[in-house]
Symmetry: C2
Subunit: 292 residues, 2 copies
Amino acid sequence: MSEDDFKPLSAARVAVLGLGLMGGSLALALRGRCGEVTGHDINHATAASALALGAIDRAVSLDEALRADLVVLAAPPRVILAQLADLSRRPPPAQPTVLLDLGSTKGAITAAMAALPPGWHPLGGHPMCGKEVSGLAQAEAELFRDKLFILTPLPRAAPGAWRLAEALVQALGARLLLLPPDRHDTVVALASHLPYAVAALLVRVALASPDPALWAVASSGFRDTSRLAASDLTMMVDILLTNRAAVRQALADYRAELDTLAGLVAQGDEDALRAFLEPPQQRRRLLFPPAE
Amino acid sequence: MSEDDFKPLSAARVAVLGLGLMGGSLALALRGRCGEVTGHDINHATAASALALGAIDRAVSLDEALRADLVVLAAPPRVILAQLADLSRRPPPAQPTVLLDLGSTKGAITAAMAALPPGWHPLGGHPMCGKEVSGLAQAEAELFRDKLFILTPLPRAAPGAWRLAEALVQALGARLLLLPPDRHDTVVALASHLPYAVAALLVRVALASPDPALWAVASSGFRDTSRLAASDLTMMVDILLTNRAAVRQALADYRAELDTLAGLVAQGDEDALRAFLEPPQQRRRLLFPPAE
């Protein structure tokens, strides 16, 4: 097939499945920049709200959404996996259709995408712009601005499908990064999923303290280190369960470092403690220079 | 002795030993609100800078500093311990003198304070207003505003000494919390020292990754969870070494939670994962409600 089978973004009919924080924000950002932006949500009231908010041009049925030029799956990872299983049982699309997901893990999702009927041109996507809050009420057109948008290559997606996805990323004002699914899952386990786990564990340890003064004393350091513990649970459980291998490895690596630190504190070895703590200090300062 | 032996803060001569971030900020905040604010630093250039910045009225020798009405020890915990050992070898002060430290751990410091010669009226202090940066150049008069200032009671401090310390906390615009040394050390191990360790370990695990894409992918979640890893090393090593028992317990508690989580991820038990992650989510949301 030719790349010309895909319309440019400005003419494409885009359908967003799932109108929460991510899908709602994507629709808001794309509206007026595509041929049409339609939306579908299992919760009819959410779709009606998206229409009222001006995020979508029309609320459509699932069948109609799947007839768009570009279908975006904007749900937690395990819902996306269920949607892909459903697509694999349906007849192929009548015309070549680009399929993009916004799930936070990519290995299981791109494996399922590879097994779709012909006619689907699937790409894995992951916009790195989480919030602790979720839902359409939190959606904003600028959510993706200057944030990283990871696309994972699938060989079966035609060049024109790639071009459409790249145009979408550009329209959002996001920064594009191409990453294969396995590398994606390993690095996000370290950059996102481990930080979430680390934060949740910190609050659990604090919760086990019998001294109420702890909560008075917890200030900016505790606040920032624990921020991700407040993340949406449905999303995070889905992420942990669809990226299990990489998350387990990250937790095992973390435990090994923890045991080393506990040993150094027990020994009271000042030089060794400093040598252990200096590389992360230097790297953190390099990565995010102090604002002042 | 009578409480009247202590001047009110507005007339008291205050000497600050150590003119870094904490001592410099304290001097800046107190200047003009006391009889005099003098400063001493082992680094003469630092004392000269403090004078030039208007943080202190005069740079004085250690001997002269110790003749003030209120002596403030503003150094890392182990330097404070060395200063207290030095004071215990000196003759008692000529007149009753209030001694306040700003160290981040209190057990070892207040034990050393209890052994000082008569005439010293010591109080343990801990202003909870850390920054990742250190040094006089970062000092600011408003550093303590609306922050918690913990005072730990020592029976040998006369009521008038307490009154003076409380007036100092009030003059800084800080919020006073009284906490015995052992409770202080246990709760700050959980609220401050464990978050620091957790952040440093997170960056160490990331540093061990061979994939440079990790650093491109690390965004706001990694940034906030790792913030404390950039903390001043001299200060943090001192803290870990002077609060070893409580820090070791906190690390052991953390490891137990980590092992439980790793087990739940390995089992892939969705309900158990949710039950494990929900209490910290709820507590974090209660403790620091989302800004929006």
